[in-house]
């Protein structure tokens, strides 16, 4: 047995394909991206090395709206943490306390998460359709005709409209994670709290939520980095328009590379997005950690 499990040839056969593919398709491209981001390059001719100039033009005298796109993604992160997560938490706490139909609600709330973002995007475009969409139809039926508008074509409402669809899709995701966190708490602890005379609300506030801190930390990280990386729904619904009002860093990166052929500059955006995600992940972890100690 021992001898068989030290079989070098078998180990090589079992691991090398994975190692090779993973290195070529995930690890090396990151270094390529970093390299591209230091070039002035249209992807076809020879690129010229420009150092950190691409990064500089992301922020200094920026004309393509990159700063606005960062602000948009920060707004998304903020409402995701401030609105989406509390809704998910409330749902998770209610369901985890053992309502009838616990499995039904959990399963149903998760459905939007598994559906393709293209379908979700197209569906919400129909919901926001100015003539026959669900939203305007409901508004008209309620006699609120003056509030109907082409939601996605109006620069004032497009951003909110897209964000609502995104929050809607992932409420169930965070709910599921928080539900698992709440479920993993030992019933004995609730018992002790109940004997001490705590109400349901008090228990949720002083027992469940503090004990859920690790999973809440994960959810906050996912909500924030997910907002920075968000691409699919915005790309499908508005493509960053109208007039760049729904642009986020990823959509801008995509058009910079594949429509404007600024490979170097677009790569700098990609690296910026990764760095942003890493930094925020570390900061959020640190904040939760400090909180746990204090």
């Amino acid at each position: 047995m021992e001898r068989l499990l030290r079989d070098k040839k078998a180990i090589f056969l079992f691991t090398f394909p994975t190692f090779l593919l993973f290195t070529v398709i995930v690890v090396l491209p990151i270094f390529f991206s970093i390299h591209y981001s230091t070039l002035e390059w249209d992807g076809f001719s020879q690129g010229t090395f420009v150092g950190l100039a691409n990064y500089k033009s992301l922020f200094v005298n920026n004309t393509d709206g990159f700063l606005q796109s960062i602000i948009n993604s920060l707004i998304l992160a903020l409402i995701s943490v401030g609105i989406q997560l509390p809704i998910s938490l409330l749902l998770a706490l209610i369901i985890a306390r053992g309502v009838r139909g616990e499995n039904f609600f959990r399963t149903v709330y998760f459905i939007p998460v598994i559906i393709s973002t293209v379908v979700i995007g197209q569906l919400w475009m129909k919901i926001y359709n100015s003539d026959y969409g669900m939203l305007n139809t409901v508004l008209r039926a309620a006699g609120l005709d003056q509030y109907t508008k082409p939601w996605l074509a109006d620069t004032h409402t497009a951003l909110a409209a897209v964000f609502i669809a995104m929050l809607w899709q992932y409420i169930g995701y965070h709910m599921l994670l928080m539900y698992a966190g709440a479920k993993s708490i030992s019933p004995d602890i609730y018992e002790a709290a109940r004997i001490d005379g705590a109400s349901e609300a008090q228990m949720a506030l002083h027992v469940t939520i503090p004990l859920m801190k690790p999973i809440l930390c994960v959810c906050v990280i996912f909500a924030v980095t997910g907002s920075f990386k968000a691409f699919d729904l915005i790309y499908v619904m508005t493509g960053g328009g109208p007039l760049h009002s729904t642009e986020v860093p990823t959509t801008l990166m995509y058009t910079t590379i594949f429509s404007r052929y600024q490979y170097g500059y677009g790569s700098a955006m990609a690296i910026f997005i990764i760095a942003e995600c890493l930094i925020f992940t570390l900061v959020i972890q640190k904040l939760f950690h400090q909180n746990a100690e204090g």
Binding site: M1, L5, R6, K8, A10, I11, L13, F14, T15, T18, F19, F22, I25, V26, P29, I30, F32, S33, Y36, G43, L91, I95, G98, V99, R106, V108, Y109, I111, P112, I114, I115, S116, V118, V119, Q122, K126, I127, Y132, M134, W168, Y173, L177, A180, P187, D188, I215, V218, F222, K229, F231, D232, Y235, V236, T250, I257, F258, Y263, A270, I274, C277
Partner: protein, 292 residues
């Protein structure tokens, strides 16, 4: 024994003290409203996929269709390319699942069971992939695939999908394999099985539940993937469903019914798989999140 009793007691008491009071009405009302918000758009989609524009424009945008026009489905499947997109998605996703399963199970076996110095390092190396957003690899992969003349091929999607399925899959599989008892493999060895036979006849059947979990995960992420599919394929005959139905709204203009039918066709497979395996899927989502 005492601990067991205590647990039983705690469970019993928990049951008794479920909130039965008047507030439970509002509780269920709230849960019901959220259910409606989460599901109604999908029901609405299902309904309008059977309508034609006349019906929608003449005031029935919301209700049950007057006539259930199955012809909408027939027409997108035959006249449009949705049939082709569907087949492409099945091919790409199917091969992705088979290849990633092969890589994940063999690697996990080598990591968990076999004795070599770098096994832990190897696992951590693969798990690094959980942190890498696909944006960082999009352009380099595009250039490599272009130089290899692999753009507009199934392979251009299958390769990245397989590799991006590895980290999560390896994580789930390694965790599962650690918990299966060694005895069966030992007796197989005594019976004269070599490593490959032991892996294929003993270990692989034992890890099937984890294979299913990983396969569902991989299915969802590759079936729904947009960024690579949209960038690496522009030949209409090779497009997958996600990208295909995006162009569908171009082809069909503003015909609501057929577009709706296309969206429903793209959704039904995922929904079926989800409803069949929802427990397993939810478990793997949770397991993945705790690592990530």
């Amino acid at each position: 024994m005492a601990a067991e009793m205590k647990q039983k007691l705690a469970r019993g008491q928990k049951k008794r003290t479920k909130p039965f009071c008047f507030s439970s009405f509002f509780l269920y009302l709230f849960l019901g409203i959220v259910t409606l918000i989460q599901v109604y758009p999908l029901i609405w989609l299902f309904l309008f996929s059977f309508k034609n524009n006349n019906e929608i424009y003449s005031g029935n945008a919301m209700g049950i269709p007057h006539v259930w026009r199955i012809s909408n489905y027939y027409s997108v499947l035959t006249s449009g390319n949705v049939g082709i997109y569907l087949i492409n998605s099945v091919i790409v996703t199917g091969i992705t699942i088979v290849l990633s399963t092969a890589l994940i199970t063999t690697s996990a076996y080598a990591i968990v069971r076999m004795r070599w110095k770098a096994s832990h390092l190897f696992l951590n190396y693969i798990l690094l992939g959980l942190m890498v957003p696909i944006h960082a690899t999009l352009l380099p992969l595009f250039i490599v695939l272009r130089n290899l003349n692999l753009l507009n091929s199934y392979l251009s999607l299958i390769l990245p999908y397989v590799v991006f399925a590895l980290p999560m899959g390896a994580f789930i599989m390694v965790g599962f394999m650690k918990n299966i008892p060694l005895e069966l493999e030992e007796s197989a060895c005594l019976d004269g099985c070599n490593v490959y036979q032991t892996f294929w006849h003993i270990v692989f059947p034992l890890v099937r539940p984890a294979v299913a979990t990983v396969a569902i995960f991989t299915f969802l992420s590759s079936w729904n993937e947009l960024m690579f599919a949209n960038t690496f394929i522009n030949n209409d005959r090779l497009k997958t469903l996600t990208v295909g139905i995006m162009s569908l709204s171009g082809q069909q203009g503003t015909a609501w019914g057929p577009i709706g039918a296309g969206l429903v066709i793209a959704t039904v497979p995922t929904l079926l798989i989800y409803l069949l395996f929802s427990k397993q899927l939810q478990k793997s989502v949770i397991a993945g999140a705790i690592k990530g």
